[in-house]
Subunit: 333 residues, 2 copies
Amino acid sequence: MTETVHNWEDHGYLATYIKKNGSFANLRIHPHGLVLVDLQSYNDHIKGREEVDQLLNKVEERMKELFHGNIKRVKRLPAILRGGVIDRYWPTADGRLVEYDIDEVVYDEDSPFQNIKILHSKQFGNILILSGDVNLAESDLAYTKAIMGSGKEDYTGKEVLILGGGDGGILYEIVKLKPKMVTMVEIDQMVIDGCKKYMRKTCGDVLDNLKGECYQVLIEDCIPVLKRYAKEGRMFDYVINDLTAVPISTSPEEDSTWEFLRLILDLSMKVLKQDGKYFTQGNCINLTDALTLYEEQLSRLYCPVEFSKETVCVPSYMELWVFYTIWKKQTDI
Amino acid sequence: MTETVHNWEDHGYLATYIKKNGSFANLRIHPHGLVLVDLQSYNDHIKGREEVDQLLNKVEERMKELFHGNIKRVKRLPAILRGGVIDRYWPTADGRLVEYDIDEVVYDEDSPFQNIKILHSKQFGNILILSGDVNLAESDLAYTKAIMGSGKEDYTGKEVLILGGGDGGILYEIVKLKPKMVTMVEIDQMVIDGCKKYMRKTCGDVLDNLKGECYQVLIEDCIPVLKRYAKEGRMFDYVINDLTAVPISTSPEEDSTWEFLRLILDLSMKVLKQDGKYFTQGNCINLTDALTLYEEQLSRLYCPVEFSKETVCVPSYMELWVFYTIWKKQTDI
C-alpha cells in the first residue's frame, strides 16, 4: 500500500492510500473535526462489498478507540456503482440523487427525437426513461389515473384527444371506459414500438394496432394536427396533454419552451368544447418557481381559463407530482 | 494546484489535484476506458456549486475534444453533502442510496429506547425517523390507511388494540370512525411527546391527552400488557401491530428477533376474537427473503391462521411496502 499525505496550512489534511489491486482510499480530515473516508474500488461483486464493509467496520472501531468514543456522529452511505452496463442513478426533477433497483437494461435506442430506455426495476417493473427523464413505470397507474382526472370523469361516449402518451397507458385505460373516439397523437413511433413490447402492464394490447373500434393513433407532431383540427372546427370533450414536463427553466425570457407550452395550450383550448376539460401533468411539487410560471402562462391564453391542481404520489418518481385540470371560464350570459 | 500521479502496472492511473482552498479532485482512469472524476470541496453554498458545475462542464468539453467525441456515455451525479447539520441520506430498507429534501432538523433526542429524529422535508412534511429508520411522514396517510385495512373495515363500535403506533396516526384515524374503545400501547413516551408537537398533520390532537372518550394510551411495553389481557380473557376485534419492521435478518437461527415476532403474534392471536383481524406492516417488497421468513412464522403460531398481503406506495419510503392482514382460520364445525 502506498500512502501520500497532503497538509494544508489552514484546511487540515488529505491522505491517499493506494492498493496494488487498483483500489484506493481518501482520508480527508478537516480542522474542525469532520473526517471523510472515501473508498473506491473496481469490480464490485458481493464478495468485494463484504470485504469493504469489514474494512470500514475496522476503520470505524479504530477511530472510536482513537477518539475514546468521543465521536458525535458516524454515517456510512451505500456504495455508488459507476461505469457498469446498468445505471441505477436517475436524479429526481428537483435534483436529488436517488438510486433505483434497476437490474436489467431491457431496451436502449436513439430515435430521431430522443434517447429511449426501458429499464427493469425489481419493484416498479419496466420503467420508460426518455432522454434521461423517468417517464413512467409499470407500477405507475397512479400517474395515468391522475392525468385522466382521478376517476371523477365519465368518458362514456366522449371525444378524447391525447397529446403524446406513447407508452399507451392513458389510451389503454380510457378505451376501457367506452369513449366515442380517442385520438392519440404521438410523434415517436419508436416509443410506441418499445412500449408495446416491454410496457404491457401499462398499455395492454392497445398499441398492437394503431386503430381500434374507438381509437386511432396518429404518428405525427401534435402541433400541425392541432392546427388542422382547429381549422376544421373539430372539438373534443377532453384534451389530455402527456407531452413533456414543465421545463425546469425559471427564466422564460431565456428560452422558447414557455412559448411552446403556451402554443400547445392555446391550440388545445381551440379544440376543447366549452364545457370540456384539459388535463396535464405539471411538475414535481418542490419546483415551485416552475409551477408558478406555468400557472402564469394560463392567464395569458387567448381565452380565459380556470384551473385546479392535485398532488399525487407516482411510485417510480420518488417525489410528489402536481397534476393540473384546466377548463374554459364560463361567462355569464 | 498540486498534482500527484500514481501509475499501476495493470490498473491504469490515479491523478489527484489539490487546490489551496482545501478542495481536491481525483481522476481515476481505468485501462478499459472508464474515467471517474470525483471532486470534493468544503463549504458548499450555491455559488460554490455553480462554480463546480462550470468546472465540470469544462472538463467534459475538454474530454470530448481529446477523444474526438468518441465517448459512449457521460453521467454526472448530484453532489453528496456530508458533515452538515442536516443529513439528507436515509437509505431504503433494501439498501439503496436516496437523498431526501430535508431542510430542517426539527427534533433530535435519544430516549431510553432509541434515537428519535423528526426532520422536515419540503415535500413530505415532517418525517419521524427512529434509530435511522424512516417511520412515517406527514404525507403518509397511505401507510395509516393500509395498516387499518385499506378502508374495507367497519370500526364502528369495535374494540381495537394498537401495538406501538406512537406517532398517533392510526389512533387519530380510527377515533374518527366511532369505535367502542381503542387501546394503544406505546413504550416510548418521548416518541409521543415529539409527535404530538411536530407531527400534527398525522396525529391531530389525539395525543394531547392519553385518554379520550373512546381511547386510552398506555405507556408500557406491549408484551406484559398482552400477557395480562390474554390472562384476563380480554378480546379485541382488531389488533394492529405498528411496532417494528420485519427484521432484515434472513438467518432466524442466528438471532431471536423472529422469536420475538412470533411471541407478539401468538399473544395477539390470544386476544383476537375468532372473527377478528390482525393488521401489520411487513417490509419493503424487494426483501423477498425476509417476507418469506415472516410468512413461515405465521404457520408456526399456536393456532392456524390465514393471511393476505397488499403492496402499497408510502410516499416518504421511496420503495413499495407490503402490508399483511392475518386472521384465525375458521374451522368447520
